[in-house]
Symmetry: C2
Subunit: 403 residues, 2 copies
């Protein structure tokens, strides 16, 4: 994906957006958005598995099971999690108001929140902003939308992609906001991707599940899942292209474009780490199963020991070896495993590679982009995970978050 492609954000026929400053923050910034979705659209989502989840997630999950939404309301500045029965009442309060003002059934409204946990949300601020939001719906407001959902993120994260199938253009536009290791606490991961293809909900759900597994699920770097994580995939059906009638090759072409969008957005989250000094790609190949390759990749990606060594630019491969050994895998020993830092082989035949050069590896680790490559010599499956190093800054950001 070139930088150029990245710059031009495409409208998605069937989607309109609107953002305002509602007063969630002391500082004046966009903090509340709505998205209006046409009635032919199909919407699917994946949500946090955290049991302390915000009622925004519970309500949205329930509504999404019943019908496709017409409106999505998203705010930053307050997660509305850990707020109990009052938090639920607050949400229903502004949903009711929104429903009246739009004449839209309540179950066709989804709500998402990100920000501080445990504090009551400013319902009045939301209600006071609804008419302004509704009067300003535009299809070219993706950038403002992407800004309004940010919390501790340092930059907006969005991308568009055009794919030509049967001589017609299909547009895809996606936005996300940071999470996990990068800007943790309740720094929820939110993601909204829209396309104008026509597709059945079942097919769309399968695609989202598959894409989540290789993108957002491969970056949850400190193993923490927020109370508010949500990822929506929307297909407006405004295009003439019917996914269900496409050839396998064209289906794959569409899938690959979406895949590029999801992986780009997932990597953007990793790259936006104030604490991060390295961008680390972990490639696992020749594993006996996809699950095994993922377990190995995430065991390395989540290892504080590997991550502090990367921060120190120290080729301490023993920590990588130990992280592999801690992963849930089928193999009994690591004798077939090969570990490389970039192109430099460091471990083979259960011992340090005979031509291993500490000097070359140290030099390699001075790069900002680091690859850790693991060859399992045990099958055909592969996975890739992305992570950062673990730096002093990480501690600082997390220790300072509320103060």
């Amino acid at each position: 994906m070139t930088k150029n492609e990245n710059k031009k954000i495409l409208e998605i026929d069937g989607i309109k957006l609107s953002s305002v400053y509602s007063g969630m923050y002391n500082k004046k910034r966009l903090d509340l958005s709505i998205m209006e979705i046409n009635q032919n659209a199909v919407v699917t989502g994946v949500f946090t598995k955290n049991k302390a989840k915000s009622d925004t997630i519970n309500i949205s999950q329930k509504n999404l099971k019943i019908t496709n939404p017409k409106y999505i309301i998203v705010n930053s500045g307050n997660a509305n999690a850990g707020t109990g029965a009052n938090g639920y009442k607050d949400i229903m309060n502004y949903i009711n108001d929104f429903s009246k003002k739009t004449n839209c059934p309540k179950n066709k409204i989804l709500v998402f929140s990100t920000g501080v946990i445990g504090e009551r949300i400013k319902v009045t601020n939301i209600k006071n902003s609804i008419l302004k939001l509704l009067s300003n719906l535009k299809s070219d407001s993706w950038i403002n939308f992407s800004k309004s959902i940010l919390t501790t993120d340092t930059k907006k994260k969005l991308i568009s992609k055009k794919v030509k199938i049967m001589d017609q253009n299909i547009n895809i536009t996606g936005v996300t906001k940071g999470s996990g290791m990068i800007n943790p606490n309740m720094a929820t991961m939110l993601s909204f991707v829209a396309t104008d293809i026509k597709i059945k909900k079942m097919s769309l759900s399968k695609i989202l599940k598959r894409l989540t597994d290789i993108s957002y699920n491969m970056i949850s770097v400190d193993g923490e899942t927020s109370t508010n994580d949500a990822s929506l995939l929307i297909a407006t059906g405004s295009n003439q292209i019917d996914y269900e009638k496409l050839s396998l090759r064209d289906k794959d072409l569409f899938y690959k474009s979406l895949e590029e969008v999801y992986i780009y957005l997932a990597k953007e989250i990793i790259m936006d780490g104030e604490g991060a000094t390295k961008f680390v790609t972990i490639n696992i190949k020749n594993s006996s199963s996809v699950k095994e390759s993922k377990n190995i990749a995430m065991s390395i990606a989540n290892s504080p020991l590997v991550k502090t060594a990367l921060f120190a630019e120290d080729p301490n491969w023993g920590r990588i070896l130990s992280a592999i050994g801690n992963a849930e895998t089928k193999f009994k020993d690591l004798s077939k495993i090969k570990i490389s830092l970039g192109k430099f082989l460091v471990f083979k035949n259960n011992e340090i590679y005979k031509n291993y050069s500490e000097k070359k590896c140290k030099k390699y680790l001075k790069n900002k982009n680091i690859e850790i490559n693991i060859d399992c010599s045990n099958g055909k499956h592969c996975s890739t995970a992305w992570t950062t190093d673990l730096s002093y800054e990480y501690i600082k950001i997390n220790a300072d978050y509320r103060t």
Copy 2:
């Protein structure tokens, strides 16, 4: 357990120890020990589940299955892990030599190593030290033994305990070395506890398993398991007391004394963190099962977000709530959960406690010893875990370890 009890280290009839400087480190310090165990003794162990485990562990596990050991050889300064076929040969080389010099069958020798991973061990140094070690075996050498197994630990960790059963004294002495979060990398956890009671191997194994679950397994703070972790429990049988013939009450009395030893040693590991500014006790009560209570305790103990907040002395209870929500539990929501910082209730009925005082909690978190108390209101089971905060020092220690 008073400080006084702690000071006096008791000999265990049937155990002799000997330690030397063999040259594993550049700095002159004790780095190699042997323990001689009498022939009536029963020995049981638990070992790392890391698949990249050192062959010292593989060999010791195999030998321990066949027979009770007469000798244990332990070195610091080199883990002999990630060293492949050569690493195995090195171990067998010094085991063979030791076997000849002592006329002890090879399978009655256990070996343990801790230190740098991936480097060949200095076999000659070990072999050259054997006669000196054998000539110096004494039953009062526990302190030197405990010093010789340290790596990045800042202080020795050992304790004795005397328990009177049927008018006879049973002695227990245990030593351990650091691990995990505290002084990570391959900073293996090694533990050797000996008592003079007479007991069947089966009973001893059950006791060790049970004690490990509530002590060492509740402190593995960064979720990393080393390649060399080992914990041995030795019963020499030199005493007149036969565990199998004791009343349930007396069995329990003995168990409780051992429990105190194990929990003391586990806490010593946590307290020995150069990076740690807090000692954190996490108590889970009224859980539906022991497993659930452990999952919750360890989810909090392993959360970098909770740990950075503790470092910042910030009562950011939302992070604790989220960590509970991420634990594998039976409950569907957290509405019954109560969270307290020390005696200060902060979360109840799914929302912030009405009398919550941020000021009081901030003041409480300035203490070095912090308690996080979780009431699940969901059953009768409980667990306790111990951890530290996550500080700048942690990053420094781990980034600097090899340099």
